[in-house]
Structures are given as C-alpha cells and as structure tokens.
Amino acid sequence: MTHSVKQYIAWRCAQELKSGIVNLGIGIPTLVADYLSRGSVTIHSENGILGVGPEPSPEEFDIDLVNAGKQPITVLPHTSYFDSSLSFAMMRGGHLDATVIGALQVSEKGDIASWAIPGKDILGVGGAMDLAIGAKRVIAAMTHLTPKGDPKILPQCTYPLTAKKRVDTIVTEHAVFKFYQEKLWLVELNDDVSFEKLKEMTPASYEIAKDLKRVQGRHTFIG
C-alpha cells in the first residue's frame, strides 16, 4: 500500500467530517487529523482527552500528554481531561458524532471486523469495540482489497467481529459506500475503476445510489 493511498483514504474520510466531535482509530484514521479543520472538528482520544491538537515540536513534548495511539500530542484552548470511565461513557453513551476506524472487513449488513485475525492470538482489543458501538457515525477506513488482493467488503465477515450492524460509511481508495435503510449503497466511485471492476472487487451486495458521484480519484490527489 503506497503512502498516497493511505493519505487519499484519510483525506476522503476528512471530507465526511465538517463539525462535531470525532475519534480517530489507529492506522489510516490517525492520518485523518492532517486533513481536518481542527477548529471546527474536535478530536476525542479515549485515554481521556477532548480536544487533541497537532503533534508537538520536540521542545513541546510532554510525557503526560499522549493520545490513544500513545503518540505525543498537543492540546487546544478548549481541551479538557477526564478519567477513562468518563471517556468511554462519552463514547458508549452516544456523545461522539463520529469515529473513523480502520477495518479488516465490513459486511453488507454493516458488521465490522477490525481487531483480530482467525487463528492468531486474541490478546488485544483496546477501545475498538466501544467506539464501534457508541459513536453516532462509524466510518470504516480501509483499502479496498487486502495486500494479497482479497476483497474486504463482503456478504459477511469471516474475521472476528468488532460490532454488528454499526458501520455507516465505508471509504476506500476507489469508492465510498453508505448504509441506508438496511442496505449498502455505492455513493461515490473514483474514475480510476469501472463499475464492473468495482463489482469484481466487492462481493457484498450493494445498490447504486441515484445521485452517485463519479470523482477524480487519488491519481489527482496531492497528499
């Protein structure tokens, strides 16, 4: 996966986020911050921060100030700190407008698999399940295919689930899908792939939105 694919997906996710509070997962979602208007969108970090600022310069670095990915951060003038239980209350209680999570698979029912691989040790989950359960909108950010070329948008997930029926939007480097009335809809397709090619890469059942957008994709994106 090239750098610009990741960055394109992150940028495209950011277009979904114009205001409100968002939590960004680990992986591609972390990059979303670079494309957000961080004044009008506030970033929540599940270790207990509302109002995450940009990366610190080396002299600003503070060991007591990290995000959920354990990376050093800065804060903003409207930032607040709280304990982990309040942080997850905020999340699970539906007080976050959106989350962007990296996904391994998404099913046509909106199920998401993002935290474990069959046959591997199941020893880490972090906040992924609470995010997927609690945020008002769950945006799954992922490459359209695995590095081996296997599809990820499937009739049903074959990997262990993170949450059932919770995905609202899927963003890949080729397309954007949304869930609406219990169905998956293709709402945007980059001009680098044809409808046939997309169908081939996407075994899930989906409908094509009436107002489908065809857009210039990442080959024109300056990341």
């Binding site: 004044g39 009008s40 929540h44 800065t74 409207h78 997850f88 905020m90 209680g93």
Partner: protein
C-alpha cells in the same frame, strides 16, 4: 503554537436565550432537572418553561419537588404527569396529589437514582445494586445474588431533555459548577438527548482550567446565560 487552529475553534454547542432554548422541549417530554433542594436548580430555565411554553404531561426526573423552586409552580399547574426521584414527602401537596391519583411517583434510593442517571448517559442500560434489596422498594424488581449478597436490578434513566445549572461555561460549552450546587447536574448533562444549561457566566475559550472542567462540551447542547429571557 496552533494559533491558526486556536482562532477558529467552534463546537456544535449553541448559545441561545432561555425562550429560544426552552421551545425545543417537546410535548410529553421526559425532563431531568438538576439540583438538590433549592441548590443547583436551573430556576431560570424552569421559569422560561413555565412562562414561555404550554408543554404538558411531563415526566420530571429530579431528586424532589421543593416548594421554593420553580418545579413547584410546574407541579401546581398540573403539568407534571409523573415524577421520578428520591424524596417527595416534604411537599405535602405532592403527597396529596399522589393520593388522589393526580401524579404518578417512582421512588428510588438516591444512590440508585444517581447511578441510573450516570449509567443512562454512559450507554449502560441496567445494573445490579445491593441497595434496597429486601425492602419495599425492591418489590416487583428482579433480584440476583452476587458475592453471597442479594442485589436488585435497576434500569438506567435517560431523558429527552436535561435542564441543568452550572456556574460557568466557556464558549466551547465546557462547564464548571460551584460548591454543592454541582450535585446531580453533571450526570444529568450526560443523560438526555438535549441538554440545556443555565449558567451564571459565559467566559472565553481558554479561561477554564482544562484539568478542572467537570462537564466536557460533548455532553452539552445549548447554553443559556441566566437573565437572557
């Protein structure tokens, strides 16, 4: 650092007059009202609710209905169909109204009440508590033994609207409270679809200590400056 961002901070919290805010309350709403006795009561919002709206058949979730608060005229106008709280005996008229079937009352131990609110705002629908096990307040409630001790299943509380009182809000919507006027206000802020806050003072972003913010703005929808009807 971050000066570009800092200039442009904007949240989805709205700053409205009491009249504008209170008109968002629907008919037959379930409303949480902060405060304990007369302390920390959103008196100004309640006044607007009484004077500026006609909403009826309200369910009020509040510790009690004190005669010296604006919950009392709301009660006197027969606009409260049901009250959920912990202590209604000090107001004899409420007791009388209950006896005559004019108001429904659901009584909870204060700890169960406050945890039901906090967990309601936290996405947890039910919990087991040892409080009230074996008492009349547990009649018709599910019980279960944990650690050899009987516990009662309590359902969390969540409202259409919370009316709360804070001391200061910043322009992002973060809140701090004052002394024991904090009481139920921060947890009720969490536990409603629409949280409307009455504050003494609105300050600039950056004026509240980020370590001391009690209610982050994620829990707040509308801030009303007390006095702005």
């Amino acid at each position: 650092m971050n000066t570009e961002v800092e200039k442009n901070i904007a949240t989805n919290v709205q700053f409205l007059s009491a009249g504008e805010a209170i008109k968002k309350i629907p008919e037959r709403a379930t409303i949480m009202v902060g405060g304990f006795g007369i302390t920390g009561i959103p008196q100004f919002l309640l006044e607007a609710l009484i004077d500026e709206t006609d909403v009826q058949d309200l369910t009020i979730i509040s510790n009690n209905i004190n005669k010296d608060t604006n919950l009392y005229p709301l009660f006197k106008q027969n606009r409260i169909k049901k009250a959920i709280g912990t202590y209604f005996t000090t107001n004899k008229e409420v007791v009388q109204a209950h006896r005559e079937g004019r108001i429904e009352i659901e009584l909870l131990p204060q700890g169960s009440f406050s945890e039901a609110i906090r967990l309601g705002g936290s996405g947890i629908p039910a919990f087991y508590t040892p409080t009230s096990a074996g008492t009349d307040l547990a009649i018709n409630k599910e019980t279960r033994i944990f650690n050899g001790r009987e516990h009662v299943l309590e359902y969390s509380l969540f409202a259409d609207v919370s009316l709360i009182k804070a001391y200061k809000a910043d322009k992002a919507g973060n809140l701090i409270y004052r002394k024991s006027a904090r009481n139920f206000n921060p947890i009720m802020a969490m536990a409603a679809d629409l949280t409307i806050v009455e504050v003494e003072e609105i300050v600039e972003i950056g004026e509240l200590n980020p370590e001391s913010i009690v209610t982050p703005f994620a829990f707040v929808d509308i801030v009303v400056q007390k006095g702005e009807m």
